[in-house]
């Protein structure tokens, strides 16, 4: 087991420069280059001396290295201070934002992944026949329409015209949020079916042409058992690792869905931070998603060894 431990520790040590790199990139993007938000904070009647005082308080006059160190510190402590636009504590904003985002993205992600795997297996099973062609063509066609169009059309028809879903808004608590997130989930699933099915289909097809499938046939196994027992079990390795890598992005939620359905998740928070040039929030969002991405790449490595017996952590 200590082999794995060494590996994990080495990977963690490797991730530190990446984290420092991310902080540096964020530092460049937001501190050095970003426009001066102070005027915006002072409302309609800022006075000249008030601007100087505010710059001082926000720490904008600190030396650049000091500002960079603040970012790095916040990457580890997750204490991002207060938002400039709303003066709220950013970490509490995250807590409030995370729940709605996750209630939307987690169910949507798992429904989308499961259904696209099922479809991909069907398509691979009937490869070359009518079903395969039909599903592939619809996938490409569905991918060719912009996500914004789906949102507009679905919201107008499904929510307003036929009243099947709530138009917008959000309520915390178990049964209530379902009414509000069901339409966005439906849209997310429709949007991700296309690319996912195509991707999983290629993964499964790669496995079908391997030698062990021929051996399985020579053992007299039926096409169905070969597909579900042998091929799918092998194809699950890339599928699982691919899914794990996508998990950190669920935290960010879907910017468009949240802002159109006014779900107060992290995505919606990002958009209002963008419109209000609220840099502490934008920085915080970038750091959190970057840290999540880094951690999940590590988890992906570990999952890879669990799923694929061939890989020893070396």
């Amino acid at each position: 087991m200590n082999g794995n431990l060494n590996y994990i520790i080495r990977r963690l040590i490797y991730l530190i420069p990446v984290l420092l790199g991310v902080c540096f990139l964020i530092f460049i993007l937001f501190n050095v280059v970003a426009p001066d938000p102070v005027n915006m904070m002072l409302g309609k009647h800022p006075t000249a001396d008030q601007i100087i005082e505010v710059r001082e308080q926000l720490g904008l006059n600190k030396s650049l290295p000091a500002q960079y160190l603040d970012i790095v510190k916040s990457a580890f402590t997750f204490d991002f201070g207060r938002s400039w636009a709303t003066k709220q504590q950013i970490s509490t904003m995250f807590m409030n934002g995370a729940i709605p985002s996750l209630t939307l993205t987690i169910p949507a992600f798992f429904i989308a992944t499961f259904s696209s795997i099922i479809f991909a297996v069907i398509v691979a099973y009937f490869r070359g026949k009518g079903v395969d062609l039909f599903i592939r063509v619809t996938c490409i066609a569905m991918m060719s329409i912009s996500s914004l169009v789906y949102i507009l059309v679905f919201q107008y028809f499904l929510a307003y015209k036929w009243g099947l879903f709530e138009i917008s808004g959000y309520e915390y608590g178990f049964p209530n949020f379902l009414y509000y997130v069901s339409l966005p989930i439906l849209i997310w699933v429709v949007l991700s079916l296309g690319p996912d099915i195509r991707f999983y289909r290629t993964l499964i097809l790669d496995e079908i042409y391997q030698d062990y499938v021929r051996t399985a046939k020579a053992k007299g196994l039926s096409e169905r058992t070969i597909m579900f027992k042998h091929v799918l079990r092998n194809a699950m390795i890339p599928i699982v690792t691919y899914t794990v890598v996508q998990l950190p992005f669920l935290l960010l939620g879907s910017l468009l869905l949240e802002s159109f359905f006014s779900i107060p998740g992290l995505g919606d928070m990002t958009i209002s931070a963008l419109n209000a040039s609220d840099f502490p929030v934008l920085k915080a969002m970038s750091i959190v998603s970057a840290v999540a991405y880094i951690i999940f790449t590590l988890i992906q490595d570990i999952v890879y060894t669990v799923v694929d017996p061939r890989i020893k952590l070396q």
Binding site: D36, N39, V54, I118, S168, S182, L186, F228, S262, P264
Partner: protein
């Protein structure tokens, strides 16, 4: 494996097939949607109109605007009566009503709300001056109250000592409060009706510290039950609220419109208020049509289906029991020239030509559905200084004259004139209006390059004088034309509110003289003359005074729109049985054709 996966997909898919939430009608609830997120509930940094509206449900100030009387008149709220003003107009003395309690909160001993005292106001106004609070309202009293600026500078950037006495604000005893001003400042009374100067208990600030903005403790009619700053706020009645009754008289015509039916009743008239935050305009209006909210403004693109050209509710909406309320706003929109740019500064003819080339009527039609009033001067209707008969010869649309003037300005047909950069916001409405402006200017050969910005970027550009031309709107802070004329006052140049950096010595002198006059017809005439004279100099392309159109459902009572909506929600009432009947009848769900058919 296959069966397991399939069952999971079907289960979750079935769960989200969707159903609308069931509605309950027993509790009297006022439902409304709001466009922008509430920044926080701390009076000192109210910032925008949306936050001030929410804050004023919880906190109260010395004065307030009468709910029904128009034009807007001040009346005492926490003060017993209007202040006694010294002859030199510098000393104001107030008497505070006795027995006013703060709402119960754990910051008070045994959680019981204590009585409001004069010293609370001294504390609250000092809080506004404290640099660490970065108050957006500080401009109101900057250099206006004796000793306040000194106190502010003394503790700038440090923890302020609030017991440090200053001459300008003193609590003579528990119920008398005295202000000493440094200069004559008639607008001072208005500032006491604004959110920044509302009373705040020091115990709450001490206990909650930086989180005070999320834990409001006020003397107002309501208090917060749940507060999700970016999603929804739910208010409930404040049990400690003193006896306040619905006014028995109002503006002419209010009685006929049934606005005095609940006269004398104890306020507030609803048990609960639910405020949902819905940024996108189309879902906001669709939820109104569904009956999820009690009243709503009308987005530009839903106007045709709601209001007839003759400014009445369409047949379909009438069938649904929806009423319309039209109220002019204290508001002006304009397109500013940056007078730092020599191109505009000393070329009056060019400014006049561009002003004449701008088709204000068409812009009103396209973007305001003809709801707004074409502005003649910078002073909006509804306050002293507005003269409805005055016609600004440069505010009308005259292409021929515009071309002639442009030639006189030295750029016949626009030749020789460099491309002018017009900065606007990135939202769809502003992008479309800037395209319209570009088209109008192209008609006389002036080439415009449109640049999109987020709101902070635009503000940043105007404050740093880097924007050549830009569209801007100004909503009155208080019903006094001074608040509008100061937009052209030289010393107010950027980063102050005078974004055009217009500086006309003669106008500055006359403005300084007029603004210190006591409110009255003489001051109004002075303001009118001043505004009309400066309009001839076309400091900016004057555009529109927008009017507010509010659609109300049949079950909403006593609603009268006011530009200063502080604490008005306590006057609204909701007839829950009427609401239940209308919603259950499904008339709201019917589309327009069927609804009208139902009426005939």
């Amino acid at each position: 494996m296959f069966k397991f996966g399939l069952s999971i997909v079907l289960a979750t898919a079935f769960m989200t097939i969707g159903c609308t939430k069931k509605k309950n009608y027993d509790e009297k609830v006022l439902l409304r949607n709001v466009k922008a997120k509430i920044k926080g509930l701390d009076p000192v940094n109210a910032g925008d109109t949306y936050s001030s509206r929410e804050i004023s449900r919880i906190y109260e100030g010395l004065l307030e605007y009468h709910y029904l009387k128009r034009p807007y008149t001040l009346q005492p709220n926490l003060a017993e009566s209007m202040p006694v003003v010294s002859d030199d107009g510098l000393t104001y003395t107030f008497k505070i009503k006795k027995g006013i309690l703060f709402q119960d909160n754990k910051c008070f001993p045994e959680g019981k709300g204590r009585e409001l005292k004069a010293s609370d106001f001294v504390y609250s106004i000092k809080r506004m001056a404290d640099t660490r609070n970065i108050s957006t309202g500080w401009w109101l009293l900057d250099d206006k109250v004796e000793g306040l600026n000194a106190w502010r500078d003394k503790y700038s950037g440090k923890a302020a000592n609030y017991s440090d006495e200053i001459a300008g604000i003193k609590a003579l005893d528990d119920y008398t409060l005295q202000f000493k001003l440094t200069t004559k400042y008639p607008q001072f009374l208005y500032s006491l009706a604004m959110v920044y100067t509302f009373a705040v208990p020091y115990e709450a600030v001490a206990m909650y510290g930086e989180e005070f903005l999320n834990n409001p403790v006020g003397t107002g009619a309501f208090m917060t039950e749940t507060y999700k700053q970016s999603n929804k706020i739910v208010y409930v009645k404040n049990p400690n609220y003193r006896d306040v009754f619905y006014p028995s008289e109002g503006a002419p015509g209010d009685k006929e419109r049934g606005l005095l039916k609940d006269a004398g009743k104890k306020l507030p008239l609803v048990d609960k208020i639910v405020v949902n935050i819905v940024p996108e305009s189309s879902p906001r209006f669709l939820s109104f049509e569904n009956g999820d909210v009690d009243f709503s403004e009308i987005p530009k693109d839903n106007f045709e289906s709601s209001v007839t050209p003759s400014k009445e509710v369409t047949e379909a909406f009438k069938a649904k029991g929806i009423e319309l309320e039209i109220v002019p706003d204290l508001d002006i929109t304009y397109i500013a020239f940056n007078h730092d740019d020599p191109l505009f500064k000393n070329n009056l003819k060019l400014r006049q030509a561009m002003s004449l080339a701008y088709d204000v009527g068409r812009s009103n039609e396209l973007f305001q559905n003809d709801r707004a009033v074409e502005a003649q001067t910078i002073i909006p209707p509804g306050i002293g200084g507005y003269d409805k008969d005055f016609v600004n010869e440069f505010a009308k649309y005259d292409l021929k004259k515009a071309k002639a003037l442009l030639a006189e300005a030295g750029y016949p047909g626009g030749k020789g004139l460099p491309t002018i950069v017009y900065d606007t916001l990135a939202t769809t409405l502003y992008r479309q209006s800037s395209e319209f402006f570009k088209k109008c200017m192209n008609d006389i050969g002036v080439n415009i390059e449109v640049r999109q910005n987020t709101w902070p970027q635009l503000v940043d550009k105007t404050k740093k004088r880097k924007a050549q031309m830009f569209g801007m709107a100004w909503l009155g802070d208080y019903p006094d034309a001074e608040n509008f004329l100061q937009l052209l006052y030289g010393p107010n140049a950027a980063p102050g509110p005078n974004g055009s950096n217009y500086n006309n010595a003669e106008f500055n002198k006359e403005f300084e003289a007029a603004k210190v006059m006591q409110p009255g017809p003489e001051r109004a005439a002075r303001y009118a003359a001043l505004a009309q004279k400066v309009a001839m100099d076309v400091p900016l392309i004057i555009n529109l005074h927008r009017t507010t159109y509010i659609l109300k459902h049949s079950w909403l009572r006593n609603h009268k729109f006011s530009s200063f909506e502080h604490g008005n929600s306590q006057y609204y009432a909701v007839d829950m049985d009427a609401k239940e009947k209308t919603i259950k009848s499904g008339v709201l769900r019917m589309n327009h054709k069927k609804a009208t058919a139902k009426v005939d």
